[in-house]
């Protein structure tokens, strides 16, 4: 069997020294290359901590994180990230915001000057894919929250990262925009096939987007349940009204309730 792209084994994370808060303990998971995994859990269960461990932004206190066959020891340079807050740079227009990773990541960084036109075209194509064609010269504050989040997604994808980390990227948006962006994200994923770890507390979002949903316990976080999602792609909003979908979301909800009470759930 092929080695998983992301391997997390028995990872623990404690903040603030020996007496500090234990955010994660005994967390393990494997993620295959090109897989779309969603991590759900009650609030404060260490989902965001997990993301920072995988990308090497923080070191784990115990256990191992292996990405693409190498132990993670410092920040990866292959990850794209998007957060709840779009964090676009207000002094750059949308096109320049999206191109920011190309100014940082090798080998694009060296080639940017020579191949500017080519890269700009890539960025424009990507913006068109998420429905932002014609907004390249606008500044972030001229765009609505949903459009800023689309641009932020483009910024996470422009350098074709092998690993895409999404930390509640749609949490601050209204339900209609959110559902719109689920489809956008699915389209992008189906074209480019990056490995995605999506952290969310929206169970419908997890069920709609992921190949596999992992449920975490409350702090210290561990994986307590895992569900494969078999709905054919591309999934549409119709999918979310199918009885199987509703019952999957219902099951996930049960796990979360159990997790909040601190009960053990059998792997389904």
């Amino acid at each position: 069997m092929e080695r998983p792209f992301v391997e997390i084994s028995e990872v623990a994370m404690r903040y603030g020294g020996v007496e500090g808060t234990l955010a994660l303990q005994g967390t393990s998971m494997n993620i295959a290359k090109g897989e779309f995994v969603a991590v759900v859990g009650p609030s404060g269960c260490g989902k965001s901590t997990l993301m920072r461990l995988v990308t090497g932004l923080w070191p784990a206190t115990a256990g191992h994180v292996v990405v693409a066959g190498t132990e993670v020891a410092g920040p990866l340079s292959i990850a794209g990230m998007a957060f709840q807050n779009p964090t676009l740079l207000p002094w750059r227009n949308i096109l320049d915001n999206v191109m920011l990773p190309l100014e940082v990541v090798e080998p694009h960084r060296r080639q940017l000057r020579a191949k500017r036109a080519e890269y700009e075209k890539q960025a424009k194509d990507l913006l068109a894919l998420v429905g932002l064609a014609g907004f390249e010269a606008k500044f972030p504050w001229q765009l609505s929250g949903g459009m800023q989040q689309r641009a932020s997604l483009c910024r996470a994808l422009i350098h074709e990262p092998a690993l895409l980390m999404l930390d509640e990227p749609f949490a601050a948006l209204d339900i209609f925009t959110r559902e719109d962006l689920w489809s956008v994200l699915q389209d992008v994923w189906m074209v480019r096939r990056p490995t995605v770890i999506l952290v969310t507390h929206d169970l419908r979002e997890a069920a709609f987007l992921a190949d596999r949903v992992l449920v975490m316990s409350s702090r210290p976080g561990r994986i307590i349940a895992e569900r494969k999602v078999h709905f054919p792609r591309p999934r549409t909003l119709e999918t979310t009204y199918a009885p199987e979908f509703v019952s999957l979301v219902h099951d996930l909800r049960e796990y979360i309730s159990a997790a909040r009470k601190g009960e053990e759930v059998a792997h389904a």
Partner: protein
């Protein structure tokens, strides 16, 4: 995208075909009201200044205040006309002194601000020293400077530098040190080096803070150079005012104050116009014509 294009171009909405005449008329009325409001805003500062002088003149006349206590604005103007040559010479001297000191403050303030803002170690190490230094009254430093450099331009330049340097350092350091953690994570996960983050995010982000500090710094730089000139100089507006007061020529003292205020305002306006040109993104909305049109009725 039907969800979010509407808020972007109100002008396009206003010009859109098929608008009823009543709606167009109402829009025009709102625009006219906003224009009147902007005109008033532009004239208001001048009206206030003229008003102040009128009240001043009237008060001096009404209470027959002697000229050596508080000269009337007309006396001050007369003194300005009479002594225009020395006033011009000395204010030129003060302006140059201030600008040189201010220039040094910009260069060193930026460098130190960037250094302190990008390194927590430097920040914690240097901050107490800087605050201690800033608490020292600069007028007390001037005699020391005179011992070191003698009477003349140099102590005034250094005093202007010392007094205007601190706000620049603090502001630039704050701008760089307060980069959003998420944004830092986005860049670090791309493999960005510390210098990349400072260059791409920290510095541009610190620019509005920097220009805000320039507005404070340039006005206090005048305070610095004039303090030094009153204590130890043979040229400059401060020196001129000391001479005038020793001769009880109070209108000339006030004329010196006026000239200083005018220079301060002029430099402030210059700093603001540079700020608007370079970091307009930070004050979005305030200069946005469309927003005024819709919100200013």
């Amino acid at each position: 995208m039907p969800d979010d294009t509407g808020a972007i171009r109100p002008a396009a909405v206003a010009n859109a075909a098929g608008m009823s005449p009543e709606a167009l008329k109402r829009l025009e009325e709102m625009a006219a009201a906003a224009r009147r409001r902007r005109r008033l805003q532009a004239w208001l500062p001048w009206l206030v200044i003229v008003g102040m002088f009128v009240v001043w003149e009237a008060a001096v006349a009404a209470f027959s205040i002697p000229q050596f206590v508080l000269p009337a604005p007309t006396d001050i103007a007369a003194s300005m006309v009479k002594w225009w040559k020395p006033l011009l010479d000395n204010s030129w001297q003060t302006l140059m002194t201030t600008l040189i000191g201010f220039g040094f403050a910009i260069v060193f303030g930026l460098l130190l601000g960037i250094a302190i803002g990008s390194s927590t170690l430097l920040y914690h190490g240097l901050y107490p020293l800087l605050i201690g230094f800033n608490s020292i009254p600069k007028v007390a430093v001037v005699p020391i400077l005179v011992i070191w450099f003698g009477i003349g331009t140099v102590p005034a330049v250094i005093t202007a530098f010392l007094i205007s340097f601190f706000p620049i350092v603090v502001n630039v350091a704050t701008g760089i040190a307060t980069v959003e953690p998420e944004l830092r994570d986005v860049l670090r996960a791309l493999g960005a080096r510390h210098t990349d983050i400072i260059r791409k995010v920290g510095l541009p982000r610190a620019m509005p803070y920097f220009f805000a500090s320039l507005k404070i710094s340039i006005t206090v730089a005048f305070v610095g150079s004039i303090i030094a000139e009153t204590v130890a100089a043979n040229k400059g507006i401060g020196h001129l005012m000391i001479l005038a007061s020793s001769r009880f020529d109070v209108p000339l003292v006030f004329a010196g104050l006026m000239v200083t205020a005018i220079m301060g305002v002029a430099m402030y306006v210059a700093a603001v116009s540079i700020e608007n040109r370079t970091t307009g993104w930070a004050t979005r909305g305030q200069n946005d014509q469309q927003q005024v049109k819709f919100g200013g009725a």
